[in-house]
Amino acid sequence: MTAYIVRRLVMLIPVLLIVGTIVFSLMHITPGDPAAVMLGQSAKPEQIEQLRDQMGLNEPLPKQFIEWFGGVLHLDFGESIFLGMPVTEAIKDRVEPTLLLTIYALFIQISIGIPAGIIAAVRRGKFIDRFLMIFSVSGAAIPTFFLGILLILFFSVNRRWLPSGGYVPIQEDPVAHFKAMLLPAFTLGFASAGLLARLVRSTMLDVMREDYIRTAFAKGSSERNVILRHALRNALIPAITIIGASVGALLGGATVTETVFTIPGMGRLVVQSIGRRDFPVIQGTVMFIAGTYVIVNLFVDILYVFIDPRVRYGDS
């Protein structure tokens, strides 16, 4: 077990290296000079040259990469000339909203997706099954930003029940915080909830065919008991993988959701940097989010071994 965990931790390095290479090369696929692009058309040649120096663009490419990636490993993503501060500082101010939004969305995904999947599997082929599955397909078909707009229209423009956007830190006013986060979290979690419901349904259907379920029924357990104690436990194992994988979709979707609900998170930072073409901020934030996602998935993989004793990873 320890060997497996160590091996997975070591494998993190090449993955981060590849991810870093991709992020690094982004700036260099820009047609033209990135410094000129960042400064816009009115920039003087001296200014461009100065920025090139400051960003290290005059250094040889391998040296640039080593310096940049070395910084990344220390969570140093360079300077943003537009914000006038290190990118790390800019990210630090915006981690909390994104992180909380993602966690709430995960909570919504799990608390809708798992019960819906179980109900659909147990009442398979019945009306409720069809209804839930149509709901889950539509969840995947509604783009996050359109769902967000619909919810704003319904709950804040028409009824004025909830705010249409903004962010209140939880320490300041917990009630206002949750009121402000309810719509964004639901918007973000809904599509993933549908995905999870479909997966739980199909694994439940598989598990219900297993011998140990028949045995449980044969020894006289109630249906409720069999489903909750025997079937669900086994059906949830693949669900963990999907939940881990959806962290990526949620972190990405947070970009869109934060824009719709004007939440000052990392995603909104990226979107605000698009027009300014602020490469250091975009590179840094994207690297930070991708890194987080890679690490979350590593934890999910390790968790998997703990939860499911049937999964025995050999040393080969």
Binding site: P14, V15, I18, V19, T21, I22, V23, L26, M27, I29, T30, P31, V137, S138, A140, A141, I142, P143, T144, F145, F146, I149, L150, I152, L153, V157, S164, S202, L205, G248, A249, L251, G252, G253, T255, V256, T259, V260, G267, V270, V271, S273, I274, G275, R277, F279, I282, Q283, V286, I289, A290, Y293, V294
Partner: protein, 306 residues
């Protein structure tokens, strides 16, 4: 391949449903059996019809649109849906119905281009990676690296580097969606190259190129087709999201994403600028997803009960 006769019960059942039409003559062993299964699935027929209507309305947008989608009319600002403009107008007086029709052209075009290009590239990389183990590590580690990003973020980052425009959106989305296809095709290739018919093809001295084209590719095709419908759906959502965020197609171009961006800006004053393009987008993506599900059921005999 010789056609084997269908079992009596199945043939009888088909006869009953179809009334002895063309479909009943396609037996379970025919290579066209999936078409029959698809046409027997009401969900597939409905979603296919909606998809066809949307595609047709996009193609014939210039004939169907009552107004120029970019024509500004200051007198008709933000009019609610009425008989003259049945989806209303936006805050600079442009006809929303006409814009929705033209916006569909961009969405569908980008969906098709991204689907074809990433299917081509993904198949090529996947087959090379699965067939020649010496290329496997390099190709697949790069694909894994690309898949380590939340897809929309990667697309945004590429768009910032490339600059806005429809062609760049396509390029960015091809980079984002190729890895999933490559991974799928690679795994089919790994299974197929162990098959006896591939081995015998190799033993009679067929070139690798021919083996890949004649034996591996056709057998890897059905999961690929299913995946392609989903990729086009994802690409359409991603294009709209990019335009919505201001990192997509030029803001002047009528696209559903750009319209939704305007729609959100106007949300406190009017519902119609957001609702109509959004509904069109959902219909298009939903019909693609449902069609993808139906195709999977029709092409994969094992997954029928899922």
């Amino acid at each position: 391949m010789a056609t084997v006769k269908a079992t009596p019960s199945l043939a009888a059942e088909t006869e009953k449903r179809d009334g002895g039409g063309v479909l009943s003559r396609i037996g379970p062993t025919s290579r066209w059996y999936w078409v029959r299964k698809l046409l027997e699935n009401p969900m597939a027929v409905v979603s296919g019809t909606i998809l066809l209507l949307l595609v047709l309305s996009a193609i014939f947008a210039p004939l169907l649109a009552p107004a120029d989608p970019t024509f500004l009319d200051p007198v008709k600002r933000l009019l609610p849906p009425s008989r003259s403009a049945w989806m209303g107008t936006d805050d600079v007086g442009r006809d929303i119905y006409s814009r929705v029709l033209y916006g569909g052209r961009v969405s569908i075009m980008i969906g098709v281009v991204v689907m074809l290009a990433s299917a081509f590239l993904g198949t090529l990389l996947g087959m090379i990676s699965g067939y020649y183990s010496s290329f496997d590590t390099v190709i697949m580690r790069t694909m894994d690296g690309l898949m380590a990003f939340p897809s929309i973020l990667l697309a945004i980052a590429i768009m910032v580097a490339l600059g806005s425009g429809a062609a760049n959106v396509c390029l960015a989305l091809v980079i984002v969606y190729t890895p999933a296809i490559a991974r799928l095709v690679r795994s089919s290739t790994l299974v197929l190259k162990q098959q006896q018919y591939v081995e015998s093809a190799r033993s009679i001295g067929l070139r690798d190129r021919d083996i890949l084209r004649r034996y591996i590719f056709p057998n890897a095709l059905s999961p690929l087709i299913v995946q392609c419908t989903f990729v086009s759906a994802f690409a359409i959502i991603a294009e709209a999201s990019l335009s919505f965020l201001g990192a997509g197609v030029n803001p002047e171009t009528p696209t559903w994403g750009n319209m939704l961006r305007d729609g959100q800006r106007l949300i406190q004053r009017a519902w119609w600028p957001a609702i109509f393009p959004g509904t069109a987008l959902v219909l298009l993506v939903l019909s693609l997803n449902l069609l993808g599900d139906a195709l999977r059921d029709a092409l994969d005999p094992r997954g029928r009960d899922r």
